[in-house]
């Protein structure tokens, strides 16, 4: 229940001229040396952090050299403390110290983390940290030869003023990337909406199909229904054909004494027997127009025909 979390982070003071080493398996909270950032205290008429952040590049404009800077700041009483730093320069120093960026938890400014009452503090043989008008600065060691060595362990708790560096650099600028992402997202939403509309239409079509099955009392599968349909169609075809045949029999051109003696029909085969026929060809030709003559015999004026209907 009361799990103790073991800290896996250590503090590192990052300065181009100070040695730093990260132990295996640990992550680092990096305190940036004043050599790696610019800091200014402003007295501003605005109190909105959002508005001030927009102004930061112009506030620093005349103080900074050429470069690609990021900004950070916060209100300290009536003043605004603003920082400018170059990600590329910090990454370069990290690389020199062989500290991978992936193992850095966050970056802090020495301005916020070092207790000003303890200054001056020696950070290397050549440099010390000192204070000038409330600003922590890096100075040559000759300014305070007796200064005590900076002990990072004495910093019990880091401030909340933490910054992060981008792990990756892209050739496309952020705004273009965002615009492109929004366009893609827009398309994704449009396609999603269209998919949903089509899906709904499909669900409705499925329901309609089920309703047809219920309404017309169809068998459960289309295969069964098709088989049943085939059976009925065959019956219907045969019956229509039989009725056509029967109509032909009724209209057979017979002479006065000629007559039909027998009509038999079973399984698609019809047998007709005519009596007193004088010209068998006339009668057989009449039936051959529409039906297949299978067999015929003509003997003693008796004509027997077998037809395939």
């Amino acid at each position: 229940m009361f799990t103790k979390f073991k800290s896996h982070t250590c503090k590192i003071f990052l300065d181009p001229d100070v040695e730093a080493e990260l132990e295996e398996g640990l992550k680092a909270d990096v305190i940036l040396s004043p050599a790696l950032y610019w800091v200014r205290r402003f007295s501003l008429p605005v109190r909105s952090l959002k508005e001030v952040k927009k102004l930061l590049p112009s506030l620093f404009e005349e103080f900074l050299p050429e470069g690609d800077f990021d900004y950070y700041g916060y209100f300290d009483g009536d003043d605004f403390i603003a920082f400018a730093f170059e990600q590329r320069a910090i990454k370069k120093v990290l690389a020199e110290k062989k500290i991978p960026l992936s193992r850095v938890e966050g970056f802090y400014f020495a301005q916020n983390e070092i207790d000003k009452n303890l200054l001056p503090l020696r950070i290397s043989e050549r440099f010390i940290l000192s204070e000038a008008d409330g600003i922590v600065v890096r100075l040559p060691a000759s300014f305070a030869p007796t200064a005590k060595k900076l002990d990072l362990k004495s910093i019990e708790r880091l401030s909340s003023h933490q910054v992060h560096l981008e792990h990756f650099s892209t050739s496309i600028d952020k705004k273009s990337l965002m615009a492109l992402s929004f366009v893609l997202l827009g398309f994704l939403l449009l396609y999603g909406a269209e998919w949903f509309r089509l899906h709904q239409a499909r669900v409705e079509a499925e329901q309609k199909k089920s309703a047809i099955f219920t309404q017309y009392g169809l068998l459960p599968t289309m295969m069964q229904n098709r088989a049943l349909m085939k059976k009925y169609e065959k019956i219907d075809r045969t019956q229509k054909r039989f009725r056509t045949f029967f109509a032909s029999v009724l209209h057979v051109p017979l002479k006065k004494e000629e007559r039909l003696h027998l009509l038999s029909w079973k399984k698609g085969v019809a047998t007709l027997v005519f009596e007193n026929i004088k010209d068998a060809k006339r009668v057989t030709e009449y039936f051959k127009r529409d039906f297949t003559l299978r067999k015929s015999s003509f003997k003693e004026h008796r004509l027997v025909m077998e037809l395939q209907i």
Partner: protein, 133 residues
């Protein structure tokens, strides 16, 4: 978020977009298929219902009732009634009755499986008629 390469996010969006295009085309195909199935089912259902109605076993009763209403016909015929078929025999059926019976049967939708008609005398015929349901 800062630890994820922005291009990976872009790639993810592109992949998602490609997948959504694929899913959309699949859904379109499925909808078209279902709509065609609905049309086919409707067509088949209507045809089947019409044929079922035409060759309805209830027609047997109708035919028997029709025979019974004509006394001379009922008298001349021998009717063999089985579960799914009806066999009608007549050794000497007057031509007028034969005409009447055949006109009713042939103008109705009966599944006639056998018909044998032979002239026995000048105005009488021998008849055998089999109808199935």
């Amino acid at each position: 978020m800062k630890r994820i390469h922005p291009l990976y996010l872009l790639l993810l969006l592109v992949v998602a977009l490609l997948y959504s295009i694929y899913a959309l085309s699949k859904e379109k195909e499925a909808l078209l298929e279902t709509q065609q199935e609905v049309e086919k089912s409707m067509e088949l259902a209507k045809k089947l219902a019409a044929l079922k109605k035409a060759y309805d076993p209830k027609q047997k009763k109708r035919l028997l009732r029709m025979i019974k209403t004509k006394r001379s016909l009922a008298k001349a015929l021998t009717i063999e009634e089985k579960s799914k078929r009806l066999v009608i025999h007549a050794k000497a059926l007057p031509i007028a009755d034969a005409n009447y019976l055949l006109s009713k049967v042939l103008n109705g939708t009966y599944n006639i499986t056998k018909l044998q008609l032979s002239r026995e005398k000048e105005n009488q015929v021998k008849l055998e008629l089999e109808i199935r349901w």
